[in-house]
Amino acid sequence: MIEVENLSKHYGALRAVDDVSFVARPGRVTGFLGPNGAGKSTAMRAMVGLTRPTSGSTRILGARYAELRNPGRVVGLLLDAGAVHAGRTGRESLRVDASTLGLSASRVDEVLDLVGLTPSEAKRRVGGYSLGMKQRLGLARAFLGEPEVLVLDEPANGLDPQGIHWMRGRLRTFADRGGTVLLSSHLLHEVEVVADDIVVIGRGRIVAQGTKADLVGAGGALVRARDPRALADALAAAGLTARDEGGAVRVDATPEQVGVAAAAAGVVLLELREATGSGLEEAFLQLTTATDRTTDRSMDPTGAVA
């Protein structure tokens, strides 16, 4: 559980994080979504005290981060995969942290294995790592202390598709076991795929938050069948309203409801997925454009009284 309350970080007149409040709940993946420069990273650093917030507070499992006696055993952090001493090998870098946390060297090998860094890669100096390898090392570090809260800033950055797929699976499992996951991304799709709850931030302020079902899933389900007529009958029989959308059918129901209805009627489905709610995507696009426009005025932020 992460409770962020009225968190702000100002740099002079620039309000990088402006009165941000939200809760990331255990058992759920919370997506922290916003365009580049929206304040996601600053907010995350402020949550764990790496940046001193101008005002506001964050409680993790009910305590301020600085009050946690051995925070690495409670919170797994990946804030900047590049913020590692380049002269240390990957394994040594984790071993240093493991000894700080009071963990054995075998735990280091476990997490290296977990993120798919081979022993020969782990023996190389971090300075020679690709972005993807640094990201894997960062994820290994986040899992090192067997935390129950994960705070990950753009964890998909630099990972190959296989790595991204693996990471989503890990985060899902982690949350399903009762862990709390907060991950940021500037890509709507990235958050949509993995998050249960979504917090949208723009220009330092929260512009929308809610469950994915509220924000994204409002679009219903998209379904395609081998026999469209049979599908239409099956949906009608289940009492679901549907409309044709150029080959696919959009149904005002969850994919599960549609699947159950199709299975009951023995309809062969070719595709079934959650339709993207156009609302969030539009809002996010507007936000991105709005932020882009304000960068020109960032020297003189209107309304930002110093």
Binding site: R45, V48, T51, N70, P71, G87, D97, S99, L114, R125
Partner: protein
């Protein structure tokens, strides 16, 4: 790799979480989902000795760090050899005086680099995330760097003794004032701590080293100017420590000057560095 197990698959029984396990605000209720609370040791904090051990390890586990120590050891050995070869019959103390020069030159730089390292190498984010009470990291670094300095002094003495043995029997080969050994060691440690304080305040290895070398020069120049002429003897640390290195019995005035200079360049500067470190943004 998709078959990898959960991060919670072991060591979750927390047998240590008995009645002696401290209950802190951090101790969460066990959520129903199956993730147990953090193990007992997670709530006990990180022992200071462990932080010191980690800082010692961090001094030698990079190529640059290992190279630094190799160079210092090699120069010290070379200084001993040169002293024995060129000074003819050498005593323990004449060898020690020559061979301490590389230490006096390099160890304060080690102090600068260790103090500034987290910021120079961007590791501050991880280090201060694992121990948010940043002053504990700084104190652990101070202890570690003093331990390393003392280890070098012991090595210096051992090498000097070996040099004295090798240079053959000579009158007074082992004559040395304990006050000289203690004084020169103390002066070395103070120099290292001064370098550390500069690195801590400036958060940059390069700037810290520059400052460390510039300071005595600036103070030397300052003696040429009337108003500062009388202040310099109180704050120029290599001047105030000169009688200490010689093992002389110190006068009250000398003690006061030592107190002033060390208070300024070690105590005050370290305090300022701690204050800055606590506020600096790790990014």
């Amino acid at each position: 790799m998709s078959t990898a197990a959960s991060p919670h698959h072991t060591e979750r029984a927390t047998p240590g979480a008995g009645p002696d396990a401290p209950s802190t605000p951090a101790g969460p209720a066990v959520p129903p989902g199956g993730v147990a609370g953090p193990p007992a040791e997670a709530r006990m904090g990180i022992g200071f000795a462990r932080l010191v051990a980690v800082e010692l390890r961090k001094m030698v586990d990079t190529r640059a760090g290992a190279a630094f120590h190799l160079v210092v050891v090699a120069l010290t050995v070379a200084a001993v050899v040169l002293a024995v070869v060129f000074e003819g019959p050498s005593t323990f103390d004449t060898i020690r005086r020559v061979a301490q020069l590389p230490l006096a030159l390099f160890l304060p730089l080690l102090g600068v680099l260790v103090a500034a390292g987290e910021w120079t190498h961007r590791s501050a984010m991880v280090t201060f995330a694992l121990e948010p009470r940043r002053h504990r990291i700084v104190f652990a670094k101070i202890v570690a760097v003093v331990l390393v300095t003392l280890a070098y002094v012991l090595l210096l003495w051992a090498l000097s003794a070996a040099g004295a043995l090798a240079s053959g029997p000579s009158a007074g080969a082992w004559e040395v004032e304990p006050a000289v050994l203690a004084g020169s060691t103390a002066a070395l440690v103070i120099d290292v701590l001064c370098g550390f304080a500069l690195g801590l305040v400036l958060a940059s290895g390069a700037l810290g080293i520059l400052a460390y070398f510039l300071l005595p020069i600036v103070l030397q120049i300052a003696t040429l100017w009337g108003p500062t002429e009388r202040i310099v003897p109180w704050i120029a640390i290599e001047r105030t420590l000169a009688p200490v290195v010689e093992g002389a019995t110190l006068t009250a005035l000398e003690w006061q000057r030592i107190g002033t200079s060390v208070g300024l360049w070690v105590v005050l500067l370290t305090a300022l560095g701690l204050w800055l470190t606590a506020r600096r943004e790790a990014k």
